[in-house]
Symmetry: C2
Subunit: 182 residues, 2 copies
Amino acid sequence: MSDLGEKRIKTKRLYKGTLIGLRRDTVELPNGKTSTREIVEHPGAVAVVAITKEDELVLIRQFRTPTKEILLEVPAGVPKKGEAGEVCAARELQEETGFHAKKVKKVWEGFASPGYSDELIRFYLAQDMVKIKQNLDEDEFVEVNLIDVETCMDLLKLGKIRDNKTMIGIMIADLYLKGELK
Amino acid sequence: MSDLGEKRIKTKRLYKGTLIGLRRDTVELPNGKTSTREIVEHPGAVAVVAITKEDELVLIRQFRTPTKEILLEVPAGVPKKGEAGEVCAARELQEETGFHAKKVKKVWEGFASPGYSDELIRFYLAQDMVKIKQNLDEDEFVEVNLIDVETCMDLLKLGKIRDNKTMIGIMIADLYLKGELK
């Protein structure tokens, strides 16, 4: 498989913003030719699969500027500098939904769009929750929805879930409740 | 839920590249304050869940410049201008893996990373395949892997799948073979 690799021979900074950056790499391909790749740089994110004692998934509805629609999503966010994934997952869950989880554990991680972005999303399972209070960022407006996992799976199968990390979060919840998560 | 919306009041073009673009929007929030959002513009992609008669999933391994690692993925690509999703899915499958599918059907669609990108990935189920020949783009280097869906599910449960659209593709294949896809 070593003949699948690429070697970076040049890089050009195109943008450096508050959350994301953008650069253009020139790479040498396995056949010796060169090509260019536009790459979005992202610090990575966490997504939280929070399951209540009643087997409900804690979801939020929020308007997303890029997609121009309100999406039903698992809570998610970007770690602060130096913040551990578990800590970030628990913090984002509490800020966005008001649920404080005593148990937070990483399950999977995957790239959101590896063709042009380095964003890695780490998925955390959150349990043993108590309801405290929502504490949103000043520019966040979200509505909390508790939906039982079985209904979530039905919504998924019907194609009603329009966010990839949420499709995966529902799958994690379903496998977990069936005792099939390894 | 109307109080979740945002109104765009300004937009600034930051970059326009061959595949992606970047802009910064200034938006008015539900509370009347303003905020800025960095937005990656992407034409959207298709991902192909191709299942052989032997219940194997057609997967590819490829090096991804942004992630700096070789990933196991479902075939995917970006439609040409005006190309229908079904046509694109069949074309990408054939180019990348050599499989020609007689039956291609859209199942789900989801945003890859709605916090900063408008990329929508449409998932297609491909069946009734015959093997013709791979026909890669000049800058594509991929290795085709046929892995039975049950083994794919095991890899997924073990956290070995590191690409979000591929996690979803495996889930689609598993639900389809169990007759649970609606």
